[in-house]
Amino acid sequence: MTPIVLTIPDLAIAASLIVLDGVLSVVLRLGLHRQLAVATIRLVVQLVLVGFILRGVFALASPLLTLGVVLVMIAIAGREVAARPEQRLARFGNYTIGASAVAFATLLTAILALTTAIRPTPWYDPRYAIPLAGIVLGSVLNGASLALDALLGGVVQQRAAIEARLALGGTIGQAMRPLVRGAIRRALLPIVNQMSAAGLVTLPGIMTGQILAGMAPMEAVKYQILLMFLLAGGSGLAAVAVTFLGARRLTDDRQRLRIDRLTQKTKGRVA
């Protein structure tokens, strides 16, 4: 299974399709050609840079460097999770919660896969660890940000209902249960959809890539199944972690609902 190596002229031919898009934009006055050009350049530059970095990291094969790269990826994902919701928890709560949930879910899932299913030697070989962490991270990021958004948005909407339960002597756990359940549910729906549609609606990316790279279809399928399991597990862990950490920030030692710890993202908007 030797992959068919692409040459620069091969890419240049494919790039003519981008030129076609540009021409379409001009002819149909879509006004997209500038954005298209910028996006194309960004795509090439970013990926080439990543390629260089990966080449270096793979060559050095230093566990510390590998961990460093993964942690940087986690930190960026944590910021993305924090930025999604309209509401902000006090004292950088969104960021702390987003980053810790993402780190917890990604590391746990990736390490499990590396030490049990994939088992490269050593298990932290950057050639496997970094791409795996990356793909898990994408799904974890999605789950965590949906959960946090649903939790923080929902607590504002359901404030009266939650406080009514508390005022009648309910515990904060009882009062928040529908909200917590809704947030985790919402985070898990995309991965459930993805698994149900896999292979029918689209051929999943990993499988496509591996088949193109020369792997036998059944081997590629096994990899894809493994990865979908990892993504589902990672999303679930991230959603649960984000929701519980977030819910804890929204209450205190007297089981009050501390909506005062939330602020609206956009300044000047009436809450």
Partner: protein, 201 residues
Amino acid sequence: MTARLRIANLRSGVAGPFELAVDAGECVAITGASGSGKSLLLRMIADLDPNEGEALLDGRDRRRFHAPEWRRQVVYSAAEPGWWGELPLDHFPRSEHARVLALADHLGVAPGRVRDALARLSTGERQRLALIRALLLDPPVLLLDEPTGALDTTATACVETVLRERLAGGTAMLVVTHSDEQAARLGNRRFHMAERRLSPA
């Protein structure tokens, strides 16, 4: 005699300090402009908002209660009640449904309405159902925030009759109202809230 509910130096960043004692069977009525702090006071007593100072139920310090246990005894009923289910009966344990219907009848809410979706009920019907939620707990202290704010005279009279029965049974009440007439009818004592301070009226 120990007061049923006593608060001392109760304060938060935005309201107080408040001093007040309410005996069993006594009703204290609080009037005052919107935003003067009436709801804040009730929420502080129920420990729904962060606050400092003392609150005692029959002489027992609030800090010695588990927070939900305190709120189960000192029940706050909001002016705009929240609902977590779709039907009124979703908010009551099945074993209490008969009592809910009986109380609804006393308060002038027809049984058919109790089984209807909350979204189809009037504000006044929802307000009375929210009061039933609080009454069913038979708490020693009731903190009622404008319990008849959305009600006509007939329904208001029904609510006041039920509240008077509770007072006769020994419940202590703090009632926030915009109506001086209601304050006079129900209140054994009356207070006025202005700029988040309480003074006898």
